[in-house]
């Protein structure tokens, strides 16, 4: 059984079709979602997390249709995400950012330090969130998402702004999350990260699902190379 199923989702902005009849699924483990810029990856995340209504199609979580539910209701069902363009609460401290998420799920605020430690930004806990480096802000978004104890975690380019060592640490974290039985969907441009840590990969191009498969299958797929290299 897959945690997430997206069925025939289409998103139109006026004349432009950003996502065109996409069907895909994600099970516990790490699922990659790759494609060139403008392929519709972030728009698809917006639809799954409930920030955008699709023009057509359904979103299912554990086989239950959640298409009509608002973002905060989906969060309570176990959907969490990070943002490609950062959405940290800039006037609050890093610690408070995580506490807001913990409190919304009625979890103890004592867990905040633990979560910051887990993603490796404990040193910034007392800093105002709009003053920390981009890489740390991305990890803060991850900690904040984890604070809701999600079963489905959508990560939008989490590694951009991280250095090599931080990226490796992040990869290990991905494996832990996967071992905890969470379904992680990863939008990522760092192909090493995708190829090394994903169990399954979906490729989007120009709003359509180009192909799906294991990292090895994707690597050898002709169409994928064309889409990326033009």
């Amino acid at each position: 059984m897959s945690t997430l199923r997206v069925e025939g989702v289409t998103v139109r902005f006026g004349e432009v079709t950003a996502v065109n009849d996409v069907t895909l699924s994600a099970s516990p483990g790490v699922t990659g979602l790759i494609g060139p810029n403008g392929a519709g990856k972030t728009t698809l995340f917006d639809v799954i997390s409930g920030l955008r209504k699709p023009s057509a199609g359904r979103v299912l979580l554990d086989d239950a249709d959640i298409t009509a539910k608002g973002p905060h209701q989906r969060s309570r069902l176990g959907v969490a995400r990070t943002f490609q363009r950062l959405e940290v609460f800039g006037s609050l401290t890093v610690w408070e950012n995580v506490v807001v998420a913990l409190e919304s799920r009625r979890r103890s605020s004592r867990l905040a330090s633990e979560l910051l430690d887990r993603v490796g930004i404990a040193e910034f806990a007392a800093n105002q969130a709009d003053t920390v480096p981009t890489g740390a802000a991305r990890l803060l978004e991850l900690a904040r998402a984890l604070a809701t104890d999600p079963q489905l975690l959508l990560l939008d380019e989490p590694s951009s702004g991280l250095d090599r060592a931080e990226t490796d640490a992040f990869g290990e974290l991905l494996q832990q999350l996967s071992a905890e039985g969470r379904a992680v969907v990863l939008v990522e441009h760092d192909m090493d990260l995708v190829m090394n840590y994903c169990d399954h990969v979906h490729v989007l191009n120009l709003g359509r699902l180009l192909t799906s498969g294991t990292p090895a299958e994707i690597r050898s797929h002709e169409g994928v190379r064309e889409a990326y290299l033009g």
């Binding site: 920030l51 609050l92 969130a129 809701t148």
Partner: protein, 605 residues
């Protein structure tokens, strides 16, 4: 049938004048992304200037019109753009709104200083001409108004759609940096649109003078009607704006013709623009949660629970000493200042923490005052009842406008304030036919009043700080910074807003009750719609993010009328200064108190 025709013509003429004003508003908004709240005030001042030239100095009408619409108004638009708005490019909507309110209040102060109150009749244009359609008469002025509306509509359409300048203007809204790369000058285009916008405000204002009296506040707030028309066009579409303006003119005209003339319906008629504003806002499509970019504002440090307690004790000690030292008059004034301070505490919660700019917060003070006055008692229970009624109305307004946010939300609060003003506070429902009510005092001596106000201020202030340190405060700020992220973390963004609105309304309502029993007599004139605007300005100037800012703002707000009665010549100047200060300070929401704090910590360092 004849009557219908006459009222239709009248409606179209008024609508035409609205269209001219609204067209200017849409032009400046769509090219500079700044919604000019002061648009109506520009029209008002320019109408006074026209009176000065055409009626007082005896210039020919056409020459006066040319000087004002073709010269003074565009020049003034350029100055506002250059010295106020350009510095605010890309600033959050709250900041540009406050700057606009600053311009508005400053212009009213200037007009009052230059043209003291008196009757100022303005001759209509071409009053010796006119045509008969059937049995109804269309005056020369009406024809001029209609002609102006048609010319403005056509002119703006051609400018935006058929000229290179217009194309560049439209491009600059979406991406000024990008447009600059292609050789356009965004700042020049923005200046041009402000010049044209001001000229249209002036033209509309002058065309309306025979219909409405030349009055500072009435003319300034008349543009709420123009706002409504502009919102019909979603602040973008000129054709829809014109349709909206003509529709509004017709509805108002037919309301005069066919609604009964009992007191309620007369009040209802006056509330029609505000009602329609609500209808238009409710018909707006759900605004999607905004995604994109880190935003944070550096607030002042939040004191711990212990520090709050110590601060409150020191504050109460100082007030106690003052209560023993000063005479009754001063003690009463200080008490009033602290009551205003409590009103500003409600804005610390709503605007400072919640990021919602309210143009109608003083309305809740009126609601609290009326409740206490109507109960005929000022027992603590009556004060709490005032707070509860205000909270209920606050929740109701928040629920009504759940769909909109940002600029539209701020305009909705203004529409709400106007609605309450016309239908409740200024009608016999609130203060009876005499327009005033007696309220028994809770404490007799002025010193006692001062201690009462200080006690309530300390408790509410500590409460506001406790909210900020706690769960609700964190959520409010999180929603302000990124409502999209909040929603994906499981926070019901809309409920938070309902909470914030009703809690803040409750505080304002409590202050209203205290105000009523302090004054002993409260009247409809204490709660005029316009009072909302200086309130917002004082909040921002003194510091809308801190409790000490609220105290300072309250005392300043109390001093303003004292200053005005002591030095009437400076009354206007003081208001101008207020507006200028707000326009200048809008970028720093922490206000004057944060300067004091900074100076203090620098000295200690």
């Amino acid at each position: 049938m004849t009557a219908l025709l006459a009222y239709t013509v009248f409606g179209l003429v008024t609508g035409g004048a609205y269209a001219v004003v609204a067209g200017g508003l849409v032009l400046t908004y769509s090219t500079s992304k700044v919604f000019n709240v002061g648009h109506g005030a520009i029209g008002m001042v320019m109408a006074f200037l026209y009176w000065e030239l055409a009626e007082n100095r005896g210039l020919p009408q056409w020459l006066a019109l040319l000087i004002v619409v073709g010269g003074c108004a565009p020049l003034f638009g350029l100055l506002v753009e250059r010295f106020v708005m350009r510095r605010l490019a890309g600033a959050p909507v709250g900041i540009t709104l406050v700057a606009g309110v600053g311009v508005l209040v400053g212009l009213i102060g200037a007009a009052q200083a230059i043209w003291p109150p008196q009757a100022r009749p303005v001759r209509p244009f071409l009053d010796q001409y006119g045509i008969h359609i059937g049995q109804s008469f269309v005056s020369g002025h009406d024809l001029v108004t209609l002609l102006c509306a048609v010319l403005v509509a056509g002119g703006l359409y051609v400018l935006l759609n058929r000229t290179r300048t217009g194309l560049a203007m439209r491009a600059c809204v979406d991406a000024p940096e990008l447009a600059a790369l292609y050789g356009t000058r965004p700042d020049r285009l923005s200046a041009l649109s402000w010049a044209i916008g001001s000229a249209l405000a002036a033209l509309g204002g002058i065309l309306l003078t025979p219909v409405v009296q030349l009055d500072y506040v009435t003319m300034t707030l008349l543009v709420i009607t123009a706002y409504t028309a502009a919102l019909v066009g979603r602040l973008r579409s000129l054709p829809w704006t014109f349709v909206g303006a003509l529709g509004l003119g017709l509805v108002q005209s037919y309301a005069v013709a066919y609604l009964p003339s009992s007191p309620f319906w007369i009040a209802f008629r006056a509330a029609i623009p505000a009602l329609l504003l609500f209808v238009v806002l409710l018909a707006m499509p759900q605004s999607p949660l905004r995604i994109g970019g880190v935003r944070g504002s550096r607030g002042v440090a939040v004191p711990s629970g212990l520090a709050t307690g110590v601060g409150a004790a020191i504050f109460l000690g100082v007030v106690l000493a003052l209560a023993l030292l000063v005479d009754g008059v001063v003690a009463g004034q200080l008490a009033l200042g602290l009551v205003f301070g409590i009103v500003l505490l409600s804005m610390v919660l709503l605007t400072g923490y919640g990021g919602v700019v309210s143009l109608g917060q003083f309305t809740f003070v009126g609601v609290g005052a009326v409740t206490v006055a109507r109960l005929g008692s000022s027992s603590p229970l009556a004060l709490l009842a005032g707070a509860a009624v205000a909270a209920a109305i606050g929740a109701l307004i928040a629920l009504t406008v759940l769909r909109v946010s940002g600029l539209y939300l701020a305009l909705a609060t203004l529409g709400f304030a106007q609605l309450m003003d016309k239908l409740v506070l200024q009608s016999p429902i609130a203060f009876g036919v005499r327009g005033s009510l007696q309220v028994p005092k809770l404490v007799d001596s002025p010193a006692g009043q001062l201690l009462l106000a200080a006690g309530v201020f300390a408790v509410v202030g500590a409460g506001v700080l406790a909210v900020r340190r706690g769960r609700l405060g964190r959520r409010m700020i999180a929603v302000k910074d990124s409502s999209a992220a909040c929603a994906t973390l499981g926070v019901n963004v809309r409920w938070i807003r309902v909470w914030v609105f009703s809690l803040s309304a409750a505080i304002a309502g409590l202050a209203g009750g205290l105000f009523a029993q302090l004054r002993e007599t409260v009247a409809a004139s204490d709660f005029q719609l316009f009072n909302n605007l200086p309130l917002l300005l004082f909040a921002v100037i003194a510091g809308v993010t801190s409790v000490s800012g609220a105290a300072l703002g309250g005392l300043l707000l109390m001093l303003l009328p004292v200053l005005q009665s002591g030095f009437p010549a400076f009354a206007g100047a003081a208001v101008v200064l207020l507006g200028v200060a707000a326009a200048g300070l809008a970028r720093d929401p922490n206000g004057l108190v944060s300067w004091f704090f900074r100076a203090w910590s620098w000295r200690r360092a």
